[in-house]
Symmetry: D3
Subunit: 286 residues, 6 copies
């Protein structure tokens, strides 16, 4: 019985956070590397089910790098990378889309359903959600069907949220001529958080947050301000895969999103710990 | 951190119950004896705040026997009891009403507000919520302003629930001529649960539930069916203050209320333990 | 028959006023001294029932000085007055609240019900309607639980008006820590009229209006402008119990309330005469 | 002042009737003979404005016999009557419609506007309100464009009532081929009251009601039941112009209309006296 | 079959125009001279039925000059013209109104009904749609009941559009005292288009549009800008009956109406050709 | 110009059909064989765009057999067929789903977007739209992940239709444990039409309809009744790929769907010809 009472106490401790966030939209970026196994995916989606039941409106944008690589391998399609980006010809793009929309997205929707949530899978084509344009890096180099966000039409997300659904979004954009583009999922999440004026953007990844010293995993910084971020980018302390995550946070913060977080998605209950306890984990940027 | 994760686990364990009860009305009878001190009252109202935030619609009916006795004492008004009921003349009735509406009810509303809940105090006059008639016990004996429920007009409760308020109800009824009556609060709770077709009626009292052997506090029965109840009443095993509580449950169950519970309101988190764990406490009648 | 036709003529004469005020909110302050007997109270509430039926939205704030004094007397609690205000310790405050909320307010709600109106009694705790703060007169003097209005949250009134109820409000405020305060009911009425941006604030009292010469009851002034009021306050021509009434009018007028009136509530049909005839009574300030 | 108070008393005396009829639809047939002059018309429309402002939903069907006769005379078109009905050729029908819709109806709409009411003129063509069929009396006789009601489509009336308008209806029907028909306005009023399930049908005419003895104007019957009506028709005691009025009442009563009345429309405030006083005038059939 | 496919192709060609205009209001002025026979009227109303079914919201303002002249002739009432305007005494005005409202308007409503459209006839009295004032030409000359638009109250049109009706409006205005005025129907159409902020104003008349050379019917100008219009008026190249049409366009364009058109209403399917094909007909002014 | 007028005539000829079907749901099954090339797909989606703009609510269920075969080939996965059904192991099912959801469905959504329609792609996981169960043919034979419809939850489709979207559905179902199943798309279309109580089910395939003589392509039957269908199935005249199409029609007709059609989807404008002309094509069953 004592144990039961403690459990009830824990529910009560979450109350102030529930009061604070009720009715608010939270955009969760869930990275391909963070969904390493079904169990972990199931756990994250149970956490999200709870968010939904206490009145928070979650929206997920997922990645899918590992799954894409596997699909391409299976077909014997080799990718050529330029400045860290996969140069994407039409055949590769078709595989990217099939994998993101037909495999990764549907799998997440299924797990959400098993966790008791009414979920709906969306990609950039649905209701013209993600209008893309071809990406150029300032040079003439042709990355093929690598895109960037031109415009978000958030109406379909809002329709689904109002009707009580949990939207799960694959980061494939479409341009005015009907061409599909592979877009970095962090950047898509940032733009969607911005378009929805979300309360929070939470990036679930496979590191602990931003490190003061890249080589010291114990050097996590728990809180940063936008100007500090700028400085850390300029000085190269934020680089590699962390760069688009931080840029997504920046986009969000510049568009009335209140707070952004970079958390380790492999940490059990990372979302609940961040949202429902005073003890923040990962790095918060605001 | 391990502790935090356990706390999050506890939240997740409540999820199936949250899913089940979301949007449902629960009528909570809170007895005068159960609200012995402010701390206990604050704790119950925090539990109710949580219910509200996870989408349950709580409605409270309160008693106030001890407070009434104290008020009458202070004024030197002595009460004469007949068959366990306080014979209530007009002066006494005025004191009863002042105490229930102006002291007990407002106090509970204040505590609800401190727990972060939008609450509203109501009595039978408000929107003609409780239409009363004079009580007779089958003889000519005149109990004065002791009443029973003639009709519940639940519209004002429904209006308040729709607008997001937590209604807290003092058990004073009014008849067609404007006379006030003191009505047993258990019976009022049963009638209100019935009129609202609530999911649950939960009677918080100062005993552990129904006992198989009145003299053995360890003999609590955890589950009873209506016919068993009838038999226990007939055989006198249910008697005294437990009688109106059980009758309230019966009224509720006969009017599409799903389950009724009699719990010890002094037990910390009694409501949460009953609603959010598999481990039921007290006695359930259905 | 001629008599009947005259009666119909009277209905028709009210038409332009009905057209003008339909859908408008009118805040009516009903003073404790004006509700001297049940008959008078019944008559005022019939007038208000008519207002409601022709589409006006009445809101009442009541006082209760005489009833409070009687309650305190009965308990042998003596009050000490400082600069005309009752110094209110915790015990006294409890009696004030019980009397206002549990006796005066419920009584008015009952009379409204008898007049065919769906009424609901509210006090400052309900939906945090009246947020109070402790009153200081500029010195260190401690008046105890005498408060002033910190903020009005009119949502619960608006909810009730939209749902067709007539809200009747007891002037008890609550602060952030849950302490209750006795607040001058005229000032509460002024603040509520302001928060609702009411069409009119009508103060029903036991004098004929504002007198040019305090000693000459025939010297009633029928119309005043705000600046004249200021001058009369400064010069001491408005003083005593008339002061908070006039301040209430000022607060209302400075917050988009259109017109304010001070009328003799003992005058039969004072409200109807003021609202539905060209022949204004009492003093209008605008 | 005493006079003013009496006026207010009169308002209060109307209160129970206002409470009873609020939100109810009343269909008023206003006969051509009853609108003898502009002053009388203005007075009736002021009475109706009052009904509207106290929450009653009036609908008017008007006649126009005298105006039609005058128009035909002016054009030198002579009418031939058969069994009391004007045999109506196409040219005559055009004049009938122009007069009813373009002259009588617009005039009433204008007077309603001057009385402060948002009114809208309708005829049978608008939203296919009155679907007509050619009238036959059981013989082969051809009355031309004399019609009877085939079906009422009340949606346009309901739309206008919901939007707060007072619908004023000219009794011209249209058949499926687009032919217009002149229909007895009493019968149209009865059918419309039936289709709207109105609370009351009130026929304003130029007699005092139904007389026990046709030759004794003092022999008005104040209340009749449907079966008595049947008998009086069979026995010929109800005949002539009174016949369609009584038939209209019968149609209404057989379709859930609560009460029907035949009143003298020239009597000042006839509507108000009937609706707002205990002293009924004219003849009530129910 | 080949023919059928071509027909389907034609439907598809209309698609971009349907997409563009869906949900938009179009005000159509239909001149008395353009409705020369029933067949033509039926054809125009079928075109409008189609507009309505593809989601456009048509509103018609009609004229009626020839019908008015015929009515006056039939009654032997001679009209005296001053500067091209019919000097209108009270008797003439009565005939004008009867003809426009009771004959022309009802006839169009009937034809709309036969084409399967829910239509409703309105004139300036309905819901005070057209508030008029007496017209003066700058001199003292008294034109009698010739009016101009003082103010449009478009609420009744909007109510009817929302409820799915097609409003058909007779150009009769009423002043504050209840006097009716004959107003140029082109100008009424322009004011109504302006008040509704319509997408288009389309004037159907009996010429091909605006001619560069009044004497050369082949010299139609297909597109003009407002300043060009001003110049053509000043230079007298636009004159006579074309003047009010062009002024109506100007009023509309100055009040957020997007485009205005002057078309030959006798041209079969003029409306559809203008709205649904790239091949504009008549003259467009924007 | 003559040509233009003819085009307008064609629009007008569609009017009665538009009036008849406005607001009605039509479920369109679009077979994998019928979408042989992009041009044809674009044409069908333009036709559907037109349906949507004239107020019809289209819902598409698509197949994808040829695309699935191609995907499996590319991966070197061979399929084993039993009684005409592809025995589907887990790896094959993953490819089926990726292809249907990630390739075929997204492609159709893109084409719909290019045709100006707000479309949304759905599969059985979204909002638990298609709940599947494993298929058995009455024997113990294990077909793997071949499923049949257990239950349709049409709420997500209705939500999307209400919000103005065109839902495009991939025939993949999910069971309670989260396993995906490949379900015959004709049968899915039939069940969805039934669940939506659609006006029509239209099966677009690559034959001309049902033939009286399978070997005579000229022997198309234009209209059949349900009992005739039963007889043709029993006698083997309907067999092979036509069987599930006819069963889908049967399911639909038994659940309040009004009419069902089997058409050649390669026929230009097949949908428009069927819906908007008297000249039906293909075979209608009702």
């Amino acid at each position: 019985m004592k144990d039961l009472i403690e459990r009830a106490d824990n529910l009560i401790e979450a109350l102030p956070y529930i009061q604070k966030f009720q009715g608010k939209i939270m955009v969760i970026k869930y990275g391909g590397n963070a969904m390493v196994n079904g169990e972990m995916l199931a756990s994250v989606l149970k956490d999200i089910a709870l968010l939904k039941y206490v009145g928070i409106k979650p929206v997920m944008v997922h990645g899918g790098g590992p799954a894409i690589s596997e699909s391409l391998d299976r077909l014997g399609l080799e990718s050529y990378f330029h400045k860290g980006l996969r140069v994407t010809d039409q055949e590769t793009m078709a595989v990217v889309r099939e994998t993101l929309v037909g495999q990764v997205n549907t799998r997440i929707v299924d797990y959400a359903g098993l966790a008791g949530t009414k979920a709906v899978g969306l990609s950039g084509s649905d209701g013209s959600l993600i209008v893309a344009r071809k990406y150029f890096d300032g040079t003439d180099f042709d990355y093929g069907y690598v895109g960037e966000v031109d415009r978000i039409n958030p109406v379909i997300i809002e329709t689904m949220l109002t009707a009580g659904y949990f939207p799960i979004i694959a980061p494939v954009g479409v341009d005015q001529s009907g061409n599909s583009y592979n877009i970095n999922s962090d950047l898509v999440a940032g733009e969607i958080a911005a378009a929805l004026k979300a309360e929070k953007l939470i990036v679930l990844t496979n590191t602990d947050g931003i490190l003061a010293d890249k080589n010291d995993p114990e050097s996590r910084i728990s809180r940063l301000k936008l100007p500090e971020i700028e400085e850390m980018i300029t000085s190269g302390r934020i680089a590699g895969g962390m760069l688009p995550k931080v840029k997504a946070c920046k986009t969000a913060l510049q568009n009335q999103v209140n707070r952004t977080h970079i958390l380790d998605g492999r940490q059990e209950h990372a979302l609940l710990l961040e949202i429902f306890t005073a003890h923040g984990i990962g790095t918060m940027i605001n």
